[in-house]
């Protein structure tokens, strides 16, 4: 059905592209973020309607049915997913986008006319496949379907180099001959390369890799735009590719890492990465009542929430405890590490869900000088973000990551499920320090007990 002339279609695509630019711009500031996202969705709607009205679309019932099925899968999942599992959902969505771009390019191979287009096809198939399988592995790591620590095997860099060399040769064949077999081989090599790329990445760095793969997918969409001669795909893909690159760098900087270091770090770092040995050195564990006394007679308490708090759904109990302490005239602030949770800003989302007021959430640079004057640092389900190894042991996978200075507080209380190391898979020396007290158990349970003990004081 062709209802729109090419000029009208181009105008509407331009409108959609403007929507995407406004969307990214809006997402950059808290006030405009939600509107920005809706403008992006509007742009997508305009673009999809335009393609139906401006080009010959056969198989219409099939296409509509597939879109309906896709929406019916994606919308409820996105609406119901627990906020703690959101990072892996984003990884999954990114992966399927890359996969879709690779398939589109694969099918367009028979229609390409110029060398430029066949190069774009080869690029899209390869990078789209990398993004698809790489995102799959990040999903598995975040969902803890597989070990989160870096996985390396002897000769891994050589295997990777061979795969990339093979991909280069296959890509050459695709451009030279347009052979379908070569492009399928390229697809398979891309899938293998994606797995090899993400396996050696340590748990705590996974979010940065998601962002990097996000930028990759953007570039594949841009390249498909070149293949199809569609300016909207070119613009939208390039926007995501460029902004994703900047975002990846910003995230890496927030963690004190370099992007290259994250991807190649596990090869260089060698054996120290990811020792999961649980030490049997003595620790001081205590009861909820003791912790309540510590808290109840403090003047300033800094809460350091981590992923464990979120997993136990203990945000609300934590907020109640903070209120009970404030009622006693005790100052309670939250110290939020930039990557608390599993992604930058993740913890802010989770605490906002529990209606913790914005004013008491302090970012790392703000809160770090305050630990010196804090009587108790209450670490709830966090580990890597307070691990002094980031400052003191150069061999550690988290070395160089800025941390919250909880060690400076007079007393440190850890609420932990067990002695199991954190997401990065390394031990925390702070647990064995004399000023540290541990309270084992599910965060929600133990916080509940501490809360009733505080009320009884």
């Amino acid at each position: 059905m062709i209802l729109l002339s090419p000029e009208w279609a181009a105008l509407l695509y331009l409108a959609a592209a403007v929507c995407f630019i406004l969307a990214l711009k809006g997402l950059g500031a808290p006030k405009t973020a939600r509107r920005g996202n809706l403008i992006g969705a509007l742009g997508a709607l305009i673009a999809v309607v335009t393609v139906f009205l401006s080009s010959r679309v056969d198989n219409l019932p099939w296409i509509i049915a597939t879109i309906v099925v896709g929406s019916a899968i994606a919308a409820p999942v996105s609406r119901r997913v627990k906020m703690t599992q959101m990072p892996q959902l984003v990884a999954l969505f990114n992966g399927v986008g890359g996969g879709a771009a690779a398939l589109v390019a694969l099918l367009e191979l028979s229609h390409v006319a110029s060398i430029g287009s066949s190069l774009a096809v080869a690029f899209t198939v390869l990078v789209g496949a990398v993004s698809f399988s790489g995102s799959g592995i990040t999903f598995a790591k975040l969902q803890e379907l597989m070990p989160t620590r870096p996985i390396t095997f002897p000769g891994q860099p050589i295997v990777m180099a061979l795969v990339l060399l093979g991909a280069l040769v296959a890509g050459g064949f695709v451009v030279a001959t347009g052979s379908l077999a070569a492009v399928v081989i390229l697809l398979v090599l891309g899938l293998v390369a994606g797995v090899l790329l993400v396996l050696p990445v340590g748990g705590a760095d996974v979010p940065i890799v998601i962002s990097l793969l996000n930028a990759f997918t953007g570039l594949t969409v841009a390249a498909s735009g070149l293949v199809l001669g569609n300016v909207l795909l070119l613009v939208a893909g390039t926007l995501v590719g460029a902004s994703g690159t900047i975002l990846t760098r910003a995230m890496a900087q927030a963690m004190g890492r370099s992007v290259g270091g994250i991807i190649f770090g596990a090869f260089k770092g060698g054996s120290t990465a990811g020792s999961t040995a649980v030490s049997d050195r003595p620790v001081r564990s205590s009861s909820a009542e003791d912790v309540a006394i510590l808290l109840g007679y403090a003047q300033r308490v800094i809460v350091v929430p981590g992923y464990g708090l979120a997993v136990a759904q203990a945000q609300h109990t934590m907020a109640e405890l903070a209120q009970a302490l404030e009622a006693k005239g005790i100052e309670v602030i939250y110290g939020i590490h930039p990557v608390a949770g599993r992604m930058p800003g993740h913890m802010n989302v989770l605490l906002a869900e529990a209606n913790v007021p914005y004013e008491v959430l302090e970012e790392m640079d703000e809160v770090n000088p305050k630990f010196k004057t804090a009587d108790v640092a209450l670490v709830v389900g966090a580990n890597d973000v307070v691990n002094p190894a980031a400052k003191t042991s150069p061999g550690s996978p988290i070395y160089g990551m800025p941390i919250l200075d909880v060690a400076a507080a007079r007393q440190v209380v850890f609420l932990k499920r067990s002695m199991r190391p954190g997401f990065a898979g390394i031990e925390n020396e702070l647990l064995y320090e004399p000023q540290t007290t541990l309270l084992f158990g599910d965060a929600k349970d133990t916080l509940g007990k501490v809360l009733s003990a505080v009320k009884a004081l």
Binding site: N59, A100, V221, N230, L239, L247
Partner: protein, 101 residues
């Protein structure tokens, strides 16, 4: 469209992309990434074009898989980003309630 025009569009879009996300606070990194992630789901347009021109069954099936995957990317991406951001705005309401007390 000729190659030079496409190249021009590409280079300009790179600069726009760099420009719009520079200096964003780390609090918003997650929603921003998620929003950008939703935008590349627009590959759906490409998938529809390919599926609409498919002449044999195998091509159609592969193209429909691409349509399915990109729909999941596009719709899921925008919905999950919106959900994240609802929580940010929910926080503001609570804050104003707190100050009202």
């Amino acid at each position: 469209m000729d190659a030079m025009t496409l190249l021009t569009v590409f280079v300009l879009a790179v600069f726009v992309g760099f420009e719009v996300v520079s200096k964003v606070s780390s609090t918003l990194h997650t929603p921003l990434m998620s929003g950008a992630n939703a935008i590349h789901g627009i590959i759906l347009v490409g998938a529809i074009i390919v599926a609409g021109q498919a002449e044999d069954a195998l091509v159609l099936v592969i193209a429909l898989i691409a349509v399915l995957l990109s729909t999941v990317n596009l719709v899921g991406g925008f919905v999950v980003t919106d959900r994240m951001l609802t929580m940010f705005s929910g926080r503001k309401q609570t804050t104003s309630k707190e100050t009202a007390k």
